[in-house]
Subunit: 310 residues, 2 copies
């Protein structure tokens, strides 16, 4: 069978990496010939999870069409979050948990999305649907993905299905998910060793908001005030990225994974900032406190989309 | 629970109607509060199937937002094939078997599509996935949908999954699917009692082909030469519709359901006709023979899309 690549979004997180690995295993069991790859280097949290369950980081690709004609996407569908030459290949499968935006195909395909906290929760259901046993290490990396995306089941994106999947996968992986989950999340909060330029790109996604180009980055920390000591340097890096890439808005969401509160840094054009303030309230000195906001997908993008459309 | 409407595409066929009925039954069993409705009157074939299995035709709606905030779509996703005010409601669920085009949401949703011959085949899998028994009449209407979309499993869109679903559903519905299927298809071929204006709108869909507006209609017959005796009247009706609605291309696919061959009538702008001929070959006197072409989705839209994009 003709080989296909499976990958998650750019600036991969543990869901993008872990679910690609899990989907590749499942699809190969079902008769496909696939390889899980990545659209960037893994972050510290994902590296911790991969090592814990005995995986190498997937090979990083820049383009796909030089290798294959067909690809499968996990944890994303928007073209600007995908591989650079996504328009040169045919997408045959998508498994995702995001809104659908600017995703157009000329042929019917397999597409499964559900409004749950993590793509790996859907993947767990797919394994059950096809009656394929989940190996211990695959269970471990799917569990890690759900812990990551739901901040240990505390994010408002968390659904009962995510909780059921965590319970089931933790059993197969043979780990205490609360103890392991805190270790995993903490592994992703070491910002001291990284530059501001790296940090604003680590978990960043671009969005088309009614024709405006918005960049929303998120970093996880255990000490918000410590992170905000670097505020001026963050703003400088964000302004430079906005100038270089033509972002109308750049938002950096700094989230405390221990208490699920965030502070955001925001820069952009006057119009874009006005739309932002319509969604979230007044920004002072490029900063705004967002208590309880931890989910870019559920708590940031929908109000921003609405504000930019009105 | 807040009520949601479920419907298939405009100019509904047996899949659009039957799968909406089947999905509404399933979702209500799962705790939703839904009603299956239709975006137009049912055609002769669908009326035959509904009567056979004891259903009334679903209520026809023109708009949705005056009744509900949320809707579920079956057998389509493209906005121009949906309810007129689709942009005024939130789509929470989609079950479909077509390409994805211009379908954008601001929120994550449930979306299940697969490249199979009929949406009811996917619906049959969903029933199994959720462990919900299929009642005899629901099995009958799903069976009718698959027979309709796959021309009794003869269309090139037919997959092994469609065949398995037909076998299983025929057993539950307690009918000989080959005998019943031929009766059902023949019930949809009575074109004598209809005007050309009605016939070119009965099973017609609009497509955005690289910015050009294309209309592709299909009628099923048992006698092609007899249908082509009305060629001039068809062309007049197509030209008028194109003028009124601004279609760059209007294609009428006349399909013999007994031998799975078609003849197409084609009108449109010079550019659009040139793109059409790039896809299908020379059109003579607005007519072209298309042996073996029975599937708009698999054999018409993909080559047209490619021709218009190049």
């Amino acid at each position: 069978m003709e080989k296909e690549l499976i990958f998650g979004h750019q600036n991969p997180d543990t869901d993008a990496i872990g679910t690609a690995i899990a989907y590749s295993y499942l699809q190969n069991k079902l008769g496909y010939n696939t390889e899980a790859v990545a659209l960037g280097e893994v972050n510290d949290e994902t590296a911790f999870a991969l090592q814990k369950f005995g995986f190498e980081a997937p090979r990083v690709i820049k383009t796909a069409a030089n290798e294959v004609d067909k690809v499968m996407l996990v944890d994303h569908n928007e073209p600007q979050q995908s591989v650079a030459d996504i328009d040169q290949v045919t997408v045959t499968h998508v498994v995702d948990h995001h809104r659908i935006m600017n995703f157009n195909t000329s042929l019917p395909l397999f597409y499964l999305a559900a409004p749950v906290g993590c793509t790996s929760t859907i993947m767990w259901r797919l394994y059950q649907h096809y009656g394929v046993d989940v190996p211990q290490n695959i269970a471990g990396i799917m569990l890690s993905a759900i812990i990551s995306d739901t901040l240990l089941l505390k994010s408002p994106t968390t659904t009962d299905e995510d909780k059921e999947a965590v319970t089931a996968l933790a059993k197969i992986a043979d780990v205490d998910y609360e103890k392991y989950g805190l270790e995993e999340l903490k592994a992703g909060t070491n910002i001291v060793s990284k530059s501001e330029e790296e940090l604003i790109d680590l978990d960043a996604k671009s969005f088309d908001l009614n024709g405006k180009k918005a960049r929303v980055a998120q970093i996880n920390v255990v000490d918000l005030p410590e992170a905000l000591e670097r505020k001026e340097a963050f703003l400088t890096a964000m302004n430079e990225a906005a100038k270089d890439e033509g972002y109308d808005l750049f938002m950096l969401l700094i989230t405390n994974v221990l208490d699920s509160n965030s502070t955001a840094l925001v820069i952009g054009s006057d119009n874009a900032k006005a739309a932002f303030e319509k969604a979230f309230g007044q920004v002072k000195d490029s900063e705004i406190s967002l208590p309880g906001v931890v989910s870019r997908k559920k708590q940031v993008i929908p109000p921003l989309t609405e504000a930019f459309n009105s």
